[in-house]
């Protein structure tokens, strides 16, 4: 039997690492020591006792309280979702959604049918804004209506689109009914106003005002061919127009 070595209790002088490997084997296995193996078999045969249930309920209750305290708090949208899962609230929300949908649908239908029932609103010429709206349907009488909602458009694009629309190579118009044309107004950019059609419909003053506005826009961006053409067109109904605008430098550049 090797005498105890090490410094655990301040006894013995050997350095602690001196016999680590052998000590570990001795301490646990005792393979080479039948006495130790016999002793180990004795204490390993000592049965473990079952702990009593006393206090177990209190422990579990405390565990539940602690778990609730530690559980992560749900975010506001988790709580909202949880609330929405409750039947009464779910029913209320469903009714609200249905009502809202019905109201929206009703308003849209009313807006779509409005141009057909009312005469076209007068075009108010404003500087830099194109009052003309998209075409509603096709035909000879009252086929064009002005968009009742004011819409501001860039001068440059507006006039350009107007001219493009009057070109003979323009693709044929869609034969869709008025409601279909009016529906996507909110999403799609308005189609270019047709100058020719505008000239044929509405009052002469309205048409002239529109042409004047387009001519003014073309002059500002320096589109001289368009200016000359529009000035000629306006001069047919307003002979003094050319004389008036030629004083403007922007027009003078194009008309001289």
């Amino acid at each position: 039997m090797t005498p105890p070595v090490g410094s655990g209790n301040g006894v013995g002088g050997a350095p602690p690492d001196a016999e680590d490997a052998g000590r570990d084997a001795d301490a646990r296995g005792g393979d080479g020591d039948p006495e130790l193996a016999a002793m180990r078999s004795v204490w390993l045969s000592m049965r473990d006792e079952e702990p009593p249930d006393r206090g177990l309920a209190e422990l579990l209750a405390a565990a539940r309280v602690q778990a609730e305290a530690m559980a992560p708090k749900p975010s506001w949208w988790h709580r909202l979702l949880a609330a929405l899962r409750r039947p009464p609230l779910l029913a209320l929300v469903t009714v609200l959604v249905l009502l809202g949908g019905a109201v929206l649908l009703g308003r849209r239908v009313g807006r779509d049918s409005a141009p057909a029932m009312h005469p076209p609103a007068p075009v108010v010429p404003t500087d830099g804004a194109a009052p003309a709206g998209p075409a509603v349907g096709s035909g000879s009488a009252a086929v064009r209506s002005v968009d009742p909602l004011p819409r501001v458009q860039a001068d440059t694009g507006e006039a350009e689109r107007s001219l493009d629309a009057s070109r003979p190579s323009r693709p044929p118009r869609s034969p869709l009914p008025p409601a279909v044309h009016a529906a996507p107004r909110a999403e799609a950019p308005p189609p270019p106003p047709d100058v020719g059609l505008v000239a044929r419909s509405g009052s002469a003053d309205d048409t002239r005002a529109l042409l004047i506005q387009q001519c003014d826009a073309a002059a500002r961006r320096g589109d001289c061919p368009v200016v000359r053409r529009l000035v000629e067109q306006i001069s047919q109904t307003d002979p003094g127009y050319r004389a008036r605008v030629v004083q403007d430098a922007a027009f003078a550049r194009c008309l001289e």
Binding site: G6, S7, E35, L36, D48, E58, A63, Q66, A67
Partner: protein, 200 residues
Amino acid sequence: MKTDDADEDLMILYQRGEVRAFELLLTRHRKPVYNFILRFVGDKETAEDLLQEAFMRVLKGAEAYKRQAKFTTWLYTIARNLCVDQTRRRKHRKHASLDAPMDTSDDSGTLMDVIPSAEMASDRKSVNKQLHETMHRAIAALSEEQREVFLMREFLDLPFKQIAEVVGVPENTVKSRMRYALEKLRLDLDEYKDVAKAAP
């Protein structure tokens, strides 16, 4: 959650509010911790109280538990500290009596009963009982430092490194203490060595 989840995973689940995870930990560790405490303090009633206190401390510290720490190291550190505090308190109050029962169970003998005698242990059962009682006595006679190392190593099968973490001393110190403990047990049980060898 699975019943074979690691202790650390269960602890993390418990931190998220899963009470079932703590119940699993309790089921898994209650018995070994209780027996560790019982062998350390040698008194059932005290062991029950300390077991309860140990798990209460686990609950209190659960929020601060980090995944890096081994759960059993933490748990046995708590249990061991409670045992050390308890034995130190008791030392001041009373000293062990030779006539005091070693155990609270009705059939436990006194220390006087297990003093070796040539007439004892006529059959195997009584031999085993006598051996176990002697073993209890020998373990109780170990110093506190040796006893805790011996119990954790031999009964809980903890590696030396983990015992060192629980006790808070270098691993080599733990090994030394273990060696001293075995030497002392060998001496205490020397008179029983033939019986021990014959025991199943």
